[in-house]
Symmetry: C3
């Protein structure tokens, strides 16, 4: 069984303070304002996960990349022909995840969600596979049952701007009370040199019932779809651009670029200009319709072209790059940073920007909130670095709580628990140093675990 005081500093006064803070927040409902769980698992009232390998390994690119880095080929990892054999391979390599968040999450999920206690290794692999498979078939392990059992108050999915959201509609129509909300993901529509762009544009046109013949009709289609997403509960727009540049183009320039794109003759320079212009435009839209603008740029996607060509995206081969915010975001923040209806949540994988750019901006602009430490950073040390770096400059109340960003429903409690324990332990450290009182520590822990996400994402 997992120890109730796990992760907390061993010094007795510190641990005592931490246990008391954690006790106050551990049962708070889970808000999950950003993630990649498939809504289809909820529209089917009796959806059950098929097997442990697919659920716990195959859907998790953190795990896939680590196994690949030690020689397990994607051909095997992505194959569906022998999930039990693949599970065995995974368990043989489970030592690779020592001291990583993936390892900690899996420990939690196995023990707290499934009740499987032995350590995972080559000897226990078959036993674990049978044990979890059996559980997955039980009524208490349907997706809807787990959602309730996990005490999830809101779960946001991530959906293309042109999505018809049929699963979200089906969930609402089913009368089930689980709050599964879509998120408007629009960045693929900005990649005007991408061979799939025209197809996505057609999908947007079909979904919005707007005939997209120029930039203005493109914008109208996006705005209509944002309203449609909002009507099904969406609170946010999610953007990930290759660069962080934002500026407004003259009408004639943007129209000319758009026409080149329609003619499949836009070049890279066009695309970069268009993306910068669209970043401004999405900020303008958010200021008007109130969808929170989540932004996380400067990741080199599908870094290995051979793997991408063969196996597609989301293999773990998305590699961060340096980000410059101060100059790049100046036009956007000057124009919209003080707008009362605008919330811009900045996620970052370049930690050197925490104290240099992000926390100073979030500590000044009413619209800017710091996103949670996530992706490569949603780890114990990553969270400590985040809290140490940003809170002193931006304050607790210019941050935005936690997002789990997971594709895997059963990992949600583990990820929120890690964040709650990280925040708790950090706050206990301030308390035992006399920097805050225990009452303040509990109030801040509640904010970090629940209230901030509720406020910032308008849940």
């Amino acid at each position: 069984m997992l120890s109730p005081d796990r992760f907390f500093d061993p010094e007795p006064t510190h641990k005592t303070a931490a246990l008391e803070i954690y006790e106050a927040i551990k049962a708070l409902p889970i808000l999950s304002p950003h993630g990649h769980v498939d809504p289809a698992i909820f529209s089917n009232p009796n959806y059950h996960f098929s097997n442990p390998y697919q659920l716990l390994v195959q859907s998790d690119h953190y795990i896939l990349r680590m196994l690949f880095s030690h020689g397990v080929p994607y051909e095997q990892l992505l194959s569906d022909t022998d999930p039990e054999g693949n599970w065995q391979t995974f368990c043989e390599h489970f030592y690779l995840f020592r001291a990583t968040p993936s390892g900690l999450w899996l420990d939690y999920t196995l023990q707290e969600v499934f009740g499987f206690e032995p350590p995972l290794n080559s000897h226990t692999a078959a036993q674990a596979y049978a044990f979890i498979t059996d559980k997955l078939a039980q009524p208490a392990f349907s997706a809807r049952s787990l959602f309730k059992q996990f005490n999830i108050e809101v779960l946001a999915t991530t959906d293309p701007a042109y999505d018809k959201l049929s699963h979200h509609q089906a969930i609402i129509e089913s009368g089930w009370q689980g709050r599964i909300i879509p998120t408007f993901r629009a960045d693929s529509l900005v990649k005007i040199t991408d061979p799939h762009w025209l197809g996505q544009l057609s999908a947007l046109s079909a979904a919005s019932k707007v005939d997209i013949i120029d930039y203005n009709s493109f914008i109208r289609a996006l705005e209509k779809q944002r309203e449609f997403f909002k009507s099904l509960g969406a609170v946010a727009c999610d953007l990930s651009f290759p660069k962080t540049s934002a500026f407004t183009l003259p009408d004639s320039t943007v129209e000319a670029i758009f026409q080149k794109a329609l003619a499949s003759s836009a070049n890279t320079a066009n695309q970069e200009q268009f993306a910068a212009h669209m970043m401004m435009t999405f900020a303008r839209m958010s200021s008007e319709d109130g969808l929170v603008m989540m932004m996380h740029n400067d990741v080199y996607r599908n870094y290995d072209s051979a793997l991408f060509t063969r196996f597609g995206p989301d293999l773990g081969f998305d590699i961060p790059r340096q980000v410059e915010y101060t100059r790049n975001l100046l036009p956007l923040l000057n124009a919209f940073g003080k707008h009362p209806k605008f919330n811009l949540v900045l996620f970052c994988l370049d930690e050197s920007a925490y104290t240099r750019e992000l926390a100073p901006l979030a500590g000044a602009y009413p619209a800017v909130k710091l996103g949670a430490p996530w992706w490569y950073q949603d780890s114990w040390q990553g969270m400590q670095r985040y809290l140490n770096a940003v809170i002193e400059i931006a304050g607790v109340y210019n941050t935005s709580g936690f997002v789990d960003d997971t594709r895997n429903l059963v990992s949600i409690p583990a990820r929120h628990d890690l964040w709650r324990r990280a925040a708790t332990n950090w706050l206990a450290g301030l308390k035992v140093r006399g920097m805050i009182s225990q009452v303040e520590a509990i109030e801040i822990a509640t904010a970090l675990a629940y209230n901030l996400a509720k406020q910032v994402y308008k849940l």
Copy 2:
């Protein structure tokens, strides 16, 4: 009452070591070689601060920006019509400063300087206002009395290069023994495209009695003013340039640029070249006249142009940017870095440069000293990161102690106490790990709290 062991690690051997180190340094006089306190409050022997809001809130852009980030408009924050009402607003928002240095400093100032014990919130606001207002009127709370009570040995102000330093002269002539020294701030005279540049040049001409008609007379005027500042006790020249580039232009080029500037026709490229040339020139001057060169570049000033236009500078909207030192400073360090009379103190808001560039340079060049962690970094964690990063590479004795950088006289003890406690706790950590002896810890603590500033700034 503030706990005597506050901020120290709770582990008993660590805390015991820390208490002993702190005991040895807590009563050392305060050296404040860089700050923004107005010298006028000392030239008037009976100066008293007008009210708590103006003293503790309005003068502090850390606090203003945080209140603004949560929706309090600058119209209200900067208004003088209702200081008590504004104080109430501030107290209602005081929770925003939890776990920030502003919060810790205010706790100290309220309790240790004013003797006000209750926590600050909406309920205690009026009581606090009345209590502090009453204190401020007492003889012991005149600016001069506070200066003595705070045990300040030297307080440096920051003054434009063209300043006539009338307050500094009046203080000396008054026979009062408080050592209030000016600092030569010259960077505005380098901004040759700024609409105020010609006016500042006239002021420099008037102050120096040099008719500035060309680059050479400009330099003569600066040198005369540096001598004038020195005659009133100045030890340093303070520079903040938009970029960190340093190189020498040919005489004819610099003269041509200067003439364009006089004709108000200099462009941005001219200004950047001129700034790089002047950085070299200021280093040359410091090597000759011995004024310490303090440098802190790469901050985007007055980031929000609408706020700047309406409310002016120093609102908290100065946002750091990435800095490159290694290549940029090469010409300057090759020319002056080994000069025995030259001290260059580098302040930095881009912490990624600590171990990568700054500490390696300070650990090699005799002239280079690392500035204190300040501004966005003068916090508990900021200080720990600084000490952890730079000391192992540059050594204790290539750093330069602490600067409080404050506009607010009554915050000085709080800020120095935070630094002394941060250094103490860090050193106690080394001591209990057997890395240094307790005797060494106390010697280093004394250096960090007092001796290094005394030596580096030639106080």
Copy 3:
């Protein structure tokens, strides 16, 4: 005597765990896969070091730069005329090394290697000099005796690509069992604008017996020398380029550049292109011959030109710069990153890249391993930052253990002990927080101290 629990956290459960982990690894043999010890000290069976100053101070540019930064001139530091006087000067300045790794290493070396217990200062300087000098003359202090006593399993030297490796050959021929292996250092042969390049090319030609008349013969010569190095035990190729760019040039372009270089008419742009091409080429060679590719770029070498002109390289004036890996290494990693025979060990002095670029790359590409924290970072805090930053993302098993990188044989045990204690203390912290078991902690400690270096460097 040094305390057995030194450096460990004082909290009792933490310290107990650390002592147990350390006990399990402290006696493991030393693997030193990268360093700069002169092989000549082993080819002579009776080599003894001449004096304490030369051995402990003059060979160590960490120490030289720190003394220079406090005014001791290189004229004195590099002089051989009065080693005892220089030692006295060093001891007078030994306080500069408080809280630095140099200080900790020297403490260890003096006490554990030489048995000299008093603290080093101006009063003990003469006593220490006599004591160590006496020891150095004893049979147990010959280079070969120390090598055995230190339990060094493998010691890699660093040798120019054109080296004839006469000392390595002599060592093997002598029948002595100490495993001293060469490392193929090739970057000087890429600096085609360097005035020494043609001379080095001649040396390469002579060593390889290949007449280098064009690019292809240049490559043949390099490949022959790599085979020669391998025949004497080499396992790695060591590269340090001014920039981190990698791309392949067309054959005709690279030949044209090579011919310009032969004619001494290559320019900087040519050199940068050639370096990028050679980085690809060295990766290709390593994929074929299996020599591990160690890479550490973006250091500005011989930063102070006056010092370099007068005193030569390796004075401590090599200053790091920002590094960009994600884009720069894309061609190399796309081409070779998945090659089963290729090991690329990336060393880094820009710590901001740890979580942003390096750990994500090492956690995905089978060929990429993270190099040890070294040079400016091989310190207690540097090691903690490294472990905190990279392990959670890349995992333990995509790192590569430790390299001591020293020129000084007697410093080797001290440096490995610091690493072992740093890793131990870090792992004990995970153990007492319930993140890993004590068994796992010991297995990971063993990997970090020994197994990983053995595997990654194929020792």
